[in-house]
């Protein structure tokens, strides 16, 4: 299995902080989620990190077994 992690407000949209999904291309993984969640995750302001590293080309991601894909909405610290 692979893991999806939802940060910030995305945790509320998902109703959970993370979930396990079958490995595969990211579009296939997102298509299996609730449509409302998939739309929120694909917002242009949401960045993605694969195993702790930001990724540029979101469409090209293929999740392998044990991979962790994090969805990062706009940050607000301090």
């Amino acid at each position: 299995m692979a893991r999806l992690v939802f940060l910030g407000r995305l945790e509320d949209v998902a109703g959970m902080p993370q979930t396990e999904v079958p490995p595969g291309p990211v579009e296939q993984v997102l298509a299996a989620l609730a449509p409302e969640l998939a739309v929120a995750l694909l917002d242009e302001k949401v960045r993605m990190a694969l195993n702790g590293r930001l990724i540029g080309d979101r469409g090209a991601v293929v999740l392998g077994k044990g991979d962790e894909l994090a969805f990062l909405p706009p940050v607000s610290g301090g």
Binding site: V5, L7, G8, R9, D12, A49, N51, G52, E68, A70, L72, P73, P74, V75, S76, G77, G78
Partner: protein
């Protein structure tokens, strides 16, 4: 560069910290610094806010803060740098973030702390929400946070 200039103390605090004790220890550790700037960010007391929660993402938050500390040290000649940022639930008056910058001369210390704070606010991996009687609400970055950040793009590095 003075001994110790390569070092920065960067911490993600999961529990409350004591800013006065941290500042005293930092000051004592940097006797060669002619100027030390400390910035403390705390949960402001405003009508209705009962709590503030900062969330982080372990694989990226502390590594990102360490990278920020390296960028600050590369940009200004510092005797020392400390960055402490809370994660977790806080109440009004609780410290959120402490930045200490020690330099031979004050302008480097002021600028380094200012730069570090602008990047902690809007370019570090934290997500903030506040609790009122109506429940929890996520706080999006403000437009000023981005204009604050943009000031550094065009300024000379030293």
């Amino acid at each position: 560069m003075a001994a110790g200039a390569e070092m920065a103390d960067v911490r993600l605090a999961l529990d409350p910290f004591d800013p006065a004790a941290e500042i005293a220890a930092f000051n004592a550790a940097h006797p060669h610094a002619g100027g030390i700037v400390t910035f403390l960010g705390q949960v402001r007391l405003t009508g209705g806010v009962e709590a503030l929660e900062l969330k982080h993402y372990a694989p990226m938050t502390l590594p990102g803060m360490e990278e920020l500390a390296r960028a600050v040290r590369a940009r200004w000649l510092l005797e020392g740098l400390s960055i402490i940022h809370r994660s977790g639930v806080m109440r009004p008056g609780d410290p959120i973030v402490l930045v200490c910058a020690a330099a031979r001369h004050r302008r480097d210390a002021f600028a380094a702390a200012d730069f570090a704070m602008d990047h902690l606010k809007s370019q570090s991996w934290f997500w903030k929400r506040e609790k009122t009687a109506a429940g929890w609400r996520w706080i999006e970055p403000r437009a000023e946070d981005f204009t604050d950040l943009a000031r550094w793009d065009h300024s000379a590095s030293r």
